[in-house]
Amino acid sequence: MSTTLTPKSSPIDSPDLRAWKSASGGGDTSQPPGLLSGAFLQETLAMTRRLFIQLQRRPSTLVAGVIQPLIWLFLFGALFQNVPQGLFGESSNYGQFLAAGIIVFTAFGGALNAGLPVMFDREFGFLNRFLVAPLASRYSIVVASAIFIAALSIVQTAAVITLSAFLGAGWPDPLGLALVVLILLTLVLGVTALSLGLTFALPGHIELIAVIFVTNLPLLFASTALVPLDFMPGWLQVVASLNPLTYAIEPIRYLYLHPDWSLGSVVLQSPWGSISLGVCLAVLIGFCAIALLAIQPLLRRRIA
């Protein structure tokens, strides 16, 4: 710097800050700020804001993220265009059948990758800023990523739903749409949590990418995203019925076809009986809760 830092106009000390510190107990944690505290909200929003600023200044991820599922929908739809009607359950064409699968798979992929930028932050040293700060909870890192991915997924979903409507798939009813969003949010939160858990557990981005790579497509093929359950051999039916993605895909698919849906509607015939929409939601929420709880010890680790 050309000039020296002289003790001029700006003092180092801020009386306001000092006052706030002593008022807030200056590190008194007899009542640790919890997940519902203003502190948690503040740090989460700040981290989320950073992610959106990054997106705004580097919009290519958004553009690619919207185009990719549309290409999937378009190409896969074309690929199976001449499949005899009725083969894919009640769907009138494959495009209509596929829309639900693409929506879920896109959201899932986004959430699965959520750990990558955090891993780069970690390798670069930026994550240390969060780790040395008195965060109300490190779940704020998870929730910030999840909010960001969820917002992206909703934009992607809107694009997919719109394109499928043009391809003749129709629209779910408004309440159904709200349920679609709820399903996606739950899935995204759960998968983001797992991805961040891996980020704290694995040695580096190479390992994280490897794990993402070996989970992504297999989970797609072992779900009902591309074909209905009764198309599959018995063992794969079992696997697909254990796959959380199936529990997100089938309700959305059902909502598309049945404006008269209810929570009791049966949406999936699994090898061990019929599963209703309500049960699917419960499974997803359970999955999400287990994922969040499971990563707690990983978040506490000291990883420098």
């Binding site: 003790p7 180092i12 700040a46 950073r50 670069f124 240390n128 694995l202």
Partner: protein, 341 residues
């Protein structure tokens, strides 16, 4: 009043590498404490344990009387940490990063609204605050890093080699800044492998080598402890070899002279270690005159911290640095570090 920082018998290994074997320090509130040591001595590892980034294998660390292991949040409240490598988000502006920092320390908006411009002004970032940090120069990045570490006005500021790789001007600015901080009552812990830096800044020093504290005290105490004064003299600006050697022989016979070294890198100047006595300088000059030798320049000084390091380890800091080059496997270290603890 408990010490600002207390480290007792800290031990920390990475795999088979004992990064810190036995480090104990006490830092009083309001002082600048220097942790001096060559590359790989264990300075960063000590600081990572202090800042709750790594967990010690054994030993006790307290900040203002609270254990950082049992109660990391309290420690995190009081600490400001400025890492050895500046890590900024290149896409965000300085001001945006400051706001992020304010929020993760839960500073209310009505306080940060004034505090952020204050820090921008204090570190003279005004012209750059609204530009992306990816466009900053190294010195600018360091200044923003300082602003970020200081934003929440920590009671204890920890700086890991804050001036390494900086130009001289920025370095002296950082020094001045740290003195200002001390004047404002902040406790400062700084690591360095620059002797002059620690000598100039620190109220107290610990010299650490191979994961062990080998000497601790005020710079003066340390120098007094090894004893002896240093006299540096030049017979001519460039003294011929034979003249230097005969002067060496002659001076070594003086009763109060312990050692005479010819420094050929400095035009054959002579470096004497002498028993501290007030007339040493005069006596040396006298003997030179009697031997018919002129004096181009002569000065007497106290031992430096490098002499302290030399006395404790048998090598100079510079030698230790050179020896450390090439022995560290950075890739492996990263791997080890990422395994977590």
């Amino acid at each position: 009043m408990p010490p600002a920082v207390l480290i007792e018998k800290l031990k920390k290994s990475y795999g088979s590498v004992e990064a810190v074997k036995d480090v104990s320090l006490t830092i009083q509130p309001g002082e600048i404490f220097g942790l001096l040591g060559p590359n790989g001595a264990g300075k960063t590892t000590t600081i990572r344990c202090l800042c709750t980034l790594a967990s010690p294998d054994s030993g006790n660390i307290e900040i203002n009387g609270t254990s950082v292991v049992d109660d990391p949040k309290v420690a995190r409240q009081s600490l400001g940490y400025i890492a050895q490598e500046v890590a900024l988000d290149p896409v965000l502006t300085g001001r945006e990063l400051l706001q992020l920092q304010a929020d993760i320390y839960h500073i209310p908006r009505k306080v940060s609204r004034d505090r952020i411009p204050q820090m921008i002004d204090l570190l003279e970032l005004t012209d750059w605050a609204d530009k992306k940090t990816g466009t900053y120069s190294g010195g600018l990045k360091k200044r923003l890093d300082l602003a970020l570490g200081l934003l929440h006005q920590p009671e204890v500021l920890v700086l890991d080699e804050p001036t390494v790789g900086l130009d001289i001007e920025t370095r002296s600015a950082v020094w001045q800044f740290l003195r200002q901080l001390k004047a404002a009552g902040t406790t400062v812990l700084i690591t360095s492998h620059y002797l002059e830096e620690v000598d100039a800044l620190a109220d107290r020093v610990a010299i650490i080598d191979n994961g062990v504290v080998i000497a601790a005290g005020t710079p003066n105490e340390l120098k007094d402890r090894i004893g002896g004064d240093r006299i540096t003299l030049r017979i001519r600006e460039f003294t011929p070899d034979d003249e230097a050697r005969s002067a060496q022989e002659m001076l070594a016979r003086l009763p109060f002279v312990q050692e005479v070294i010819i420094n050929s890198a400095q035009g054959n100047s002579l470096n004497l270690v002498v028993e501290p006595q007030s007339d040493a300088l005069l006596s040396v000059q006298q003997s030179l005159k009697e031997a018919g030798l002129s004096t181009f320049g002569i000065s007497q000084s106290r031992p430096s911290l490098d002499d302290v390091y030399l006395a404790a380890t048998g090598r100079t800091l510079m030698d230790a640095e050179l020896a450390a080059v090439g022995t560290r496997n950075l890739k492996k270290e990263r791997k080890e570090a990422m395994k977590g603890t």
